[in-house]
């Protein structure tokens, strides 16, 4: 070897094959989205969750084609009928087909829950990033306010706000988003703290990047995995919260075929006609379980990879 300065050039050429061996997953780093999805694929329970969610998504989009009756049509001759070949899930006190109403109810909840989660994740991520990146009085203030908001039970806080703003789909989304914000902020804050002192952040500061770029161009991409996992957990809670608000009469106004609303309307007939409550309740449960199974699958991948 005549010259070691030249000698370390072939060093790089010989490792070129390393690029081809790498799987697609590794391209996204250990915190990326692809390994998360691969983990879901490998886990049978997560697969069940995905199937449940897909089934409800199909209902939400195509219920007018699937439902045997108009969900608001009164079959006056057939009130409180038990499940039969004609009415699969029975009928309610107005003679409306419970099966059709359960199918129709999926649309509202599949709009409200993800949107509310999106609001919560968006606000929480911004607050968590800012609080984690700038240490100091302002970040302490943000965190303490978040703690104060979190001290209220979800329902109490939602009741308070909806009672002020009045029930509507938009308000339900905003309220649930608001309730979720501090919880998401906590997660994002912790993740931000774990990367803010890493060398690549120092390198970004050294090349004169703005704080906005460092927050959204450097930190955010590296903490997407915990945010995604948090989001899936939150969707499950959002389904519950939305159903709860409807049940209390603070959600989507009647006569919408909302699941929480159906349970609230039919609860006086619980003993004589349990199917009027059972099927909407099962619908809520299956959707929440589906979301949680997917979420568990994602979290499992994260703990395994870390």
């Amino acid at each position: 070897m005549p010259d070691s300065l030249v000698a370390d050039r072939p060093a790089q050429l010989q490792t070129d094959s390393g690029l081809d061996i790498q799987s697609v997953a590794e391209r996204f780093g250990s915190t990326g989205l692809v390994p998360l999805l691969q983990g879901v694929r490998r886990s049978p329970t997560a697969l069940v969750g995905v199937l449940l969610l897909l089934a409800w998504a199909v209902c939400a989009i195509a219920w007018p084609l699937l439902a045997p009756y108009d969900p608001n049509q009164f079959h006056t001759a057939a009130r409180l009928q038990p499940p039969s070949a004609q009415f699969w899930f029975g009928t309610d006190q107005f003679g409306r087909d419970v099966f059709s109403r359960v199918l129709a109810g999926s649309r509202d909840i599949l709009i409200v829950a993800p949107l509310a989660t999106l609001v919560g994740i968006g606000c929480g991520t911004c607050l968590g990033l800012v609080a984690g990146f700038y240490r100091g009085v302002s970040s302490e203030a943000v965190l303490r306010i978040m703690d104060a908001v979190m001290a209220f039970p979800i329902v109490t806080l939602s009741l308070l706000v909806v009672a002020m703003l009045g029930p509507s789909v938009v308000n339900v989304i905003l309220v649930i988003g608001l309730v979720f914000t501090p919880r998401v902020a906590r997660v994002v804050y912790a993740s931000t703290l774990s990367v803010r002192d890493l060398n690549y952040i120092a390198a970004a500061r050294l090349r004169g990047e703005s704080s906005t770029y460092i927050l959204f161009g450097e930190i955010l991409p590296t903490i997407t995995a915990p945010i995604i996992v948090e989001a899936t957990v939150r969707v499950g809670y959002a389904v519950f919260a939305s159903a709860t608000l409807s049940f209390l009469g603070l959600g989507i106004p009647p006569p919408a075929a909302d699941w929480g609303l159906q349970i609230a309307d039919a609860r006086t007939f619980l003993q004589s006609a349990p199917w009027t409550v059972l099927f909407p309740a099962l619908a809520i449960a299956s959707l929440v379980v589906g979301v949680n199974l997917v979420s568990d699958g994602l979290q499992g991948t994260r703990t395994r990879s870390s």
């Binding site: 010259d3 300065l5 490792t15």
Partner: protein, 647 residues
């Protein structure tokens, strides 16, 4: 009983279906110290774990045998294995802090080890534990007994771990990188302890390390591992004096030392990157990187051939390798590289810098009155052990850590303390390369994006120019343009540091702060990075502030040397006199001689080094801060001893 204590025969280990150790055979005689040397991925730690049947999940022995005292270890049942571990063989791991229970007094942990091996009363176990702490030469064992692990330094923690390992009276002590992560002076003290324990207890030692010097100082014989194979074996003195395998030869030649110097005598790096044990080649595993390679080498893998007495090498041409001396100085480079002489314009001036941190239990002076100048085009090397404040100093200069008091000047003009307030032109000229290759690059950005972003921020070139400049930068650090699309996770540690260096050079900087850029890398990779830094400097004329705990690395690169100890600059001066017979601070002397240092002194009003100083004068050192004695080259030494007596 006669026969070797430990016999490893054709041992193969795999994780799942991925081989990690391939057909390794060696024997360790009673009372012998056997060293296993290898770089990361060579399978040395896997081998250590296999010796006590304690492989990580998924790891399993796929072939061969391990015999301890004539008995087949692989056939032991769970009860016998439990008896074997601790009583017959004990392991000391790399990170002592992780081996100790943080919530338990260290003495009780040692006592627990004694009562685990034999039925002892609590009092008896305590007495034995105290004896054991004495045996590992902990100062004031009684007070150490009642302390918690976090109250001990890394070196003291490792002594406690060794005491625990010795509690069962093992015949075999396996040490897996026992001094990695410890300061050089503490490392020397631990190695001396190991030598004493061997002499006093007659314990057999298997020492695993990436550090050739550590193995050389403790072991009788050494085995060199490469890609899961044993490539060379022999007596330590013979192997290191004249290696019989090209890999060993390359490893030795890649270490910086007295024989090497940037420009004129560059390090002899091994080309290519280390082969993974998982990869199967038809021929010799080292053939792709070997300078002795012939057609035979790639056709079939050579067996471990016996060369001379008690030597073996997995090389067809071992005799030729033996006969070829290591050339430390490729002659045609002599005199070609011109380094700008010291004394040009001053780039950076730091005066009386002070920085304290609040820690639990008070304030720590991380940087205490440091005055330093960096002229353009030269390398200022800063050497110091952990806690000396050298990295804090770099972060202060970079503007990442605000200065408490003192002044910073850039090209004679006052420099803003915070990087956010510095003008773009200064950012372009003042860049930094960090220590940890794992966190230096954002894992979500491709190499091309990383580089282009830096180019955009520092030079303001348009998109087309940025793309071609990124490819040029990558070429300048000897990387192929195809890596532009790669993510950091696809790169090796050395490649990541190359990209980090390319990023720092995006705007043709005048000064690059290098904070231990090679300390996390293997020796052969370190050599290529050091050579790269030297070449970039000679091509671009950038100055470096090069920070390292390794005085040999600083000796290789630096034109001006600073020695730091507990936040203070103890010595500053041109490299030549510091390394070749000029006056030296007693601490510089300790670092250069590689001698041991054990002193847990509190900060006093006097000289920070007085508690450990081998040349302490007396009370004056404890009460008065020493004067800064200026040397003829513009540097100085912080010591009460006059310069003439320090030479």
């Amino acid at each position: 009983m006669s026969g070797p204590l430990l016999e490893v025969e054709n041992l193969s280990v795999a994780y799942g279906s991925t081989p990690a150790v391939r057909g390794v055979s060696f024997e360790v005689a009673r009372g012998e110290a056997y060293g296993l040397v290898g770089e990361s991925g060579s399978g040395k730690s896997t081998l250590a774990m296999a010796l006590v049947r304690y492989l990580a999940t998924g790891g399993h022995v796929t072939g061969g045998a391990i015999r301890f005292d004539g008995k087949d270890l692989l056939a032991l049942d769970a009860a016998a294995l439990r008896e074997f571990r601790g009583r017959r063989a004990a392991v000391v791991y790399q990170n002592p802090a992780a081996a100790l229970d943080p919530s338990m007094r260290v003495g009780d942990q040692v006592a627990e080890a004694f009562s685990a091996h034999s039925r002892l009363s609590t009092k008896e176990a305590r007495r034995k534990a105290l004896e054991a702490l004495q045996q590992v030469k902990l100062p004031d064992p009684r007070s150490v007994y009642d302390r918690y692990p976090h109250q001990l330094s890394g070196g003291m923690q490792q002594r406690v771990v060794i005491a625990t390992a010795l509690a069962g009276g093992p015949d075999l002590l396996i040490l897996d990188e026992p001094t990695t992560g410890l300061d050089a002076t503490v490392e020397a003290a631990i190695l001396r302890l190991l030598a004493d324990l061997r002499r006093d207890l007659g314990v057999t030692v298997v020492l695993i390390s990436h550090n050739l010097a550590v193995v050389a100082s403790v072991c009788d014989r050494v085995g060199v591992l490469y890609a899961g194979r044993l490539v060379e074996q022999g007596r330590v003195g013979d192997v290191f004096a004249a290696p019989a395998h090209p890999y060993t030869r390359g490893l030795l030649a890649s270490l910086p030392g007295e024989h090497s110097r940037k420009g004129t005598r560059p390090l002899h790096a091994i080309p290519g990157t280390a082969l993974s044990a998982a990869v199967h080649l038809p021929g010799c595993a080292f053939a792709p990187r070997c300078e002795f390679v012939r057609a035979e080498c790639t056709a079939a893998e050579p067996p471990l051939l016996s060369v001379r007495a008690a030597r073996s090498s997995r090389c067809y041409f071992a005799d030729e390798v033996l006969a070829t001396p290591i050339r430390h100085s490729p002659d045609h480079l002599e005199g070609t590289a011109q380094y700008p002489a010291a004394g040009g314009t001053q780039l950076l001036t730091l005066s009386d810098a002070q920085k304290t941190f609040n820690v639990s239990g008070g304030r720590v002076h991380a940087v205490d009155g440091v005055t330093l100048e960096v002229p353009s085009g030269v390398t200022v090397g800063l050497v110091g052990e952990s806690g000396s404040g050298k990295s804090t100093l770099a972060r202060i200069i970079a503007g990442l850590e605000p200065l408490d008091s003192g002044t910073l000047e850039w090209r004679g003009q006052p420099l803003e303390r915070s990087v956010e307030r510095r003008p773009r032109e200064v950012l372009r000229e003042l860049q930094m390369v960090f220590q940890d290759p794992d966190s230096t690059l954002n894992p979500r950005h491709s190499v091309g994006k990383l580089l282009e972003r830096s180019i955009r921020q520092l030079t303001g070139l348009d998109a087309r120019a940025r793309r071609s400049r990124a490819a040029d930068l990558l070429a300048a650090v000897d990387m192929d343009a195809r890596y532009l699309g790669a993510r950091p996770s696809e790169l090796s540690g050395g490649q990541r540091q190359r990209v980090a260096i390319a990023r720092a050079f995006a705007g043709s900087p005048a000064l690059v702060l290098c904070d231990e850029p090679t300390s996390a890398l293997d020796a052969s990779v370190q050599a290529t990075i050091l050579n790269l830094l030297a070449r970039l400097q000679s091509e671009q004329g950038s100055a470096y502030l090069f920070i390292s705990h390794d005085i040999d690395v600083v000796r290789y690169l630096a034109d001006i040397v600073g020695v730091m100890y507990r936040g203070r600059l103890m010595q500053l001066g041109s490299a030549a006199p510091v390394f070749d017979g000029g006056p030296r601070h007693p601490y510089t002397q300790v670092l250069l001689s590689g001698s041991a240092l054990e002193g847990e002194a509190e900060q006093t009003g006097g000289c920070p080094f007085q508690a450990s100083c081998p040349r302490k004068l007396g009370a004056i050192c404890e009460t008065q801060v020493p004067p800064w004695r200026e040397t003829s080259d513009g540097g100085g030494i912080l010591c009460h001893i006059p310069l003439e007596e320090l030479t």
